[in-house]
Symmetry: C2
């Protein structure tokens, strides 16, 4: 099966600690790398991940709080020193460009590559990226400032052609891709062999949803229904529900309720408050509602 992995580079919240770094992830879809958020320290974590810098061309920023974007200028600047030439595309709220522009002018003069900004409105559901392997759609969230999550949907792959049928009907090479894409095969004597006899269906396309930071937001359920993996913030335990509401964050139990109601396959929780020395209590709380829950941690890789 082709690669669809999520690499957690940092899963702390606003205050980075020695346990958890600020938020960043890399999504690897068929060897193309997509970054989601870029907190301080991301470039070192990216190096640690050994994913390589060269295949990363797209960065999606969920919202303009420092713990989700302070690592951008360092990463951009390092790419310049490494003689990158490919454009780097940054998708975010329009304000980011205005904030970064003076820093880029000052610190990154004469870089051998271009930073291309793609502003979007995080409050609207929109497809902000699309290629032949994957599309990325915003998931409007409810936080103190305009914020969205991101839904990565893999494109369907062609069916697998059956080796035994190729041999049996002696199907010529030029026909094989057409059959993979759904055509029937007509033999020399005019017999139509239906496609379903010639192929086996490929694995169904996979999906990953990233939802951070947000208040418990049941209306996202419809948009993320059945995804293979959901990352949902779980900044607090239920004992801090009042604080979660006040700061527009979720509890571990609320994250699990979303996962359960959206019938996702697996849930990974993160964006842990610095107050927790140990997140096992958060895991237990979530798992009580949705057993297929995993705790995020730095350098964790999850394969879909």
């Amino acid at each position: 099966m082709e690669k669809f992995d999520v690499h957690i580079l940092g899963c702390g919240s606003a205050l980075p600690t020695m346990r958890h770094l600020a938020t960043s992830q890399v999504v690897n879809v068929r060897e193309k790398l997509f970054m989601v958020d870029c907190g301080e320290g991301t470039q070192v974590q990216l190096r640690r991940s050994r994913l390589g810098f060269g295949r990363l061309n797209h960065i999606f920023i969920s919202h303009l709080h420092g713990d989700h974007c302070f690592g951008l200028i360092g990463l951009i600047s390092t790419f310049g020193m490494l003689e990158r030439t490919a454009d780097l595309h940054i998708y975010s709220h329009p304000d980011l460009q205005h904030l970064l522009a003076p820093q880029l002018d000052f610190f990154c003069k004469g870089m051998p590559y271009k930073v291309v900004f793609h502003p979007f409105n995080p409050c609207e559901r929109t497809v902000i990226y699309d290629d032949r392997s994957v599309s990325v759609e915003t998931i409007p969230l409810c936080h103190r400032i305009p914020t969205c999550g991101f839904l990565f949907r893999e494109k369907p792959t062609p069916n697998h052609i059956r080796r035994d049928m190729i041999d049996f009907y002696q199907i010529p090479t030029y026909m094989r891709n057409r059959i993979k894409n759904g055509e029937d095969y007509v033999t020399e004597d005019g017999t139509v062999v239906p496609n379903s006899r010639l192929t086996v269906p490929s694995a169904p396309p996979r999906a990953y949803a990233y939802c951070s930071d947000t208040l418990y937001q049941p209306k996202m359920v419809g948009q993320i229904e059945g995804v293979d993996l959901l990352f949902h913030e779980a900044t607090f335990a239920s004992s801090e529900l009042a604080r979660a509401r006040k700061t527009f964050h979720s509890t571990a139990s609320q994250a699990a309720q979303i996962a359960r109601d959206a019938k996702v396959k697996r849930l990974v929780i993160g964006h842990f408050s610095a107050r927790y020395d140990d997140e096992r209590a958060l895991l237990e709380e979530a798992a009580a509602v949705f057993p297929e829950t995993i705790l995020a941690s730095e350098n964790l890789t999850l394969s879909l």
Copy 2:
């Protein structure tokens, strides 16, 4: 003896690696903390050092390359979340204020403390900080942009009063501070006891010089003569002398020549190029010229 420590938080160069983080140090003079440079990731290193955030009120920035200042916005923002109330003073080239202002406005609105900028001209030798314990003077350096080092000079401490003389002459409490500060003592019968008989001199005031980034610059020698500890950048080995010159950096051997010519007590070298997997060759090169050389490393503390 009162505290005068240098804590290395990061000693890499432009490209942070898994071995070395971007530049930052904390100088602890009598329990007041002074930060020198603030590369990306400094706030986490400061946490790791367990020095505490509360006693840090002054940050000195040597020059405006990203690896020396990209950590500022994260640190400032974290101080705000920790409900800091004391002013934070930043000493730097005037451009820093213009670069940080839009970020402070956007990300740090409503912080409970003030950031106070103290612009200075790095190309001139100036005292930029002075209190009753320490003064900080710029050391003009030669780099691709205006850059300076910093010379921390401890103020002399009062002499120590001799316990046996207090008892012998039954010196009253109110006189003791005056004697520590150099006065003679006159007994009830009018005998003058000279200060030198009553006290022993305190340790001579100590000094720390920080010099990074710079081309080999022999004219700094006069200014840093005899300091107890010199941090000097040693980005390259002598085999890369041409590259050192081209990028306005120093070799390990040049750093040691400065230390030797300035007759400093100890030299610590840092700002290592990412090309070195192991800095022992740099240490050997420097120690051949100046034996009292130490390699910087993250989380190293040097006491003067």
